[in-house]
Amino acid sequence: MAIERTHIMVCGGTGCVSAQSLEMVDLLKSKLVEKGYDQEVNVVKTGCFGFCGQGPIIKVHPDNVFYVQVGLDDIDEIINEHIIKGRTVERLLYKEPETQVNLAKHDEMSFYKKQYRIALRNCGLINPEDINEYIAFNGYEALGKVLAEKTPEQVIEIVKASGLRGRGGGGFSTGLKWELTRKPVADQKYVICNADEGDPGAFMDRSILEGDPHSVLEAMAIAGYAIGASKGIIYIRAEYPLAISRLQVAMEQAKEFGLLGENIFGSDFNFDIEIKLGAGAFVCGEETALIHSVEGSRGEPTKKPPYPSIQGYHKKPTSVNNVETYANIAPIILKGAEWFSSIGTEQSKGTKVFALAGKVNNVGLVEVPMGTTLREIIYDIGGGIIGGKEFKAVQTGGPSGGVITKLDLDTPIDYESLKSIGSMMGSGGMIVMDEDDCMVNIAKFYLDFTQDESCGKCTPCRLGTKRMYEILDKITTGEGTMEDITKLRNLGIMIKDSALCGLGQTAPNPVLSTLEYFYDEYLAHIQDKRCPAGACKALAKYKIDEEKCIGCTACARVCPVSCIEGKPKQKHVINEEQCIACGACYTACKFDAVIKP
């Protein structure tokens, strides 16, 4: 086979696939055949590039040209201009929002400039369905190396020394977890991969599994060797069909190459992995609940101790690690603990992947060194707030986290610093909010989620979150009293203290943190019956557009509570205090001057 001169990389992540990227792969291939270029140009379906807000994305190597928002209609032009004639298609390049300059190379974009990709190293670079490409970029070398050269204790030592901590949210030392699982004597031990990504808005684990499934399989085998387990289980939610199918392909190929199965690399180490599908319950991200679900029981947490490292799956020692945590393992083995621990902050080493969402220009998946500030992520990588609006807050840690305000934008991100300002790292969801977002409503959204997802086993979480939700609902409809705030606080503190598992203990966080930082918004809802952001429908008031009003008096005449003032041929004004939001003025106005909330 001839060596290809050009590779066209088409993003095959879920976001881009939903925008027809797979059809583009087929179209590109058939057009290349048609033009006689199929022997020298390769089309590769890759994992997520992370720049989801600009998808579908097509990258051309070796020119390193990065096309964004490509449609099926653009394929002809890419082939005729770029592939055949070497001319970059300018109109498909990314335009920097601040400067409006077209940028062809991804490393020039501020979205990628501050990123440092370890866990996402292969996403967008390789074809996830071809084990050969993973091997080409040093895949399975870490596994081969530990089996040939390291004892399990040495592997644990390296991971411990690297300072890697659990990326699922807790931040527990990965090496220590492995050590604790290695210690107990048992006839069988298990390695579990937690791919039950449940935070609203988080999709980093899905992207890793879709873009680089072998990195997780390899790391699970390394974990198995380190703790003395021959069986691995990937617990993944059934809502991730693409990730599941790529994992299955990857597992088949790894077995075929003898990288999973018996006597791996000619050693006496055996390791096999199976996939268990979860029904997508938030609580199953909690490790004891996850283990019960894998066993076939209800997904309910149990008290710790005993920790899974002593009594986990089928009462055997089990190490449960998150997808992103695993994705860091192979580079740590290959490049060394020192390399990894040189990145990041004192307590938090390495990088973290965040799913950047909400009101930022560049929505997507970003990986930054620990210690990067929120300002850098939101303004440099995220490209600032959409429409140049005012930044209000950023929510991290999903339903277990809290909000961070303008005042703390320069906090370097690590596990401890986020905790100290009332939020948490969590799995890495990061939702940016602007002046139009009502913080009471946001708190209500998260409580709606947790009270719905509560497994119901313990009373504080089952009833407490429900009551909190009801109070928040009352406030957002203008029925709240000052007493409700005291109730919210007390309930929050009680649930934190008494819930059974981590999910319940952190569920009040969105409320407690908004109460602390946005108390005035709660007051506005309760005392003034007003939603400052204009997001709570029940509190929204009709307004008259001064530009459009001609003073015809039609609205004033139909108002049942006579709250519209204004002389004929002069601008009219609605008295918001008296307005009952009946909408009669809106229907009466012939000039579109009444603004509906």
Binding site: D107, L125, E141
Partner: protein
């Protein structure tokens, strides 16, 4: 065919890396040698596509590092197509004209490996080139 040792894995990797190497080019920008092949209509008509593919094949066969072959548009030397510009780190870019397969071999063997300029085919030597 199961992999039985680290060496066997490395063998597979060495074979596979040739196929995907060109994707790494973006990383080591400073030290990369760039070969730009003019691929406008006149260039293609004069055979620049064969030239481009010949470069790719030779470089791959000889496993030369830090080099990338990129096709570009018209450089403006239609009288001497196919044209090839070679950018070596720390050196003035050189544009070669009337390049054919034999010249491609010369460019790789003599100029890129040994720094000997192939006088017969030099069109221009300057930083103020078309690119």
């Amino acid at each position: 065919m199961p992999i039985k040792s680290l060496d066997e894995l490395k063998k597979i990797r060495d074979n596979q890396i040739k196929k995907v190497k060109l994707r790494e080019s973006g990383d080591s920008e400073d030290q990369t040698i760039e070969i730009l092949v003019g691929m406008a209509t006149c260039g293609i008509a004069a055979g620049s596509r064969e030239v481009l593919n010949e470069f790719v094949n030779i470089i791959s066969a000889e496993s030369i590092d830090h080099i990338k072959v990129v096709q570009v548009g018209c450089m403006g030397y239609c009288h001497s197509e196919p044209t090839v510009q070679v950018n070596m780190p720390g050196k003035q870019p050189i544009i070669y004209g009337n390049v054919d397969r034999a010249t491609v071999k010369d460019i790789v063997e003599k100029y890129i490996k040994q720094g000997i300029i192939i006088d017969d085919h030099v069109l221009i030597k300057t930083f103020n080139s078309a690119l």
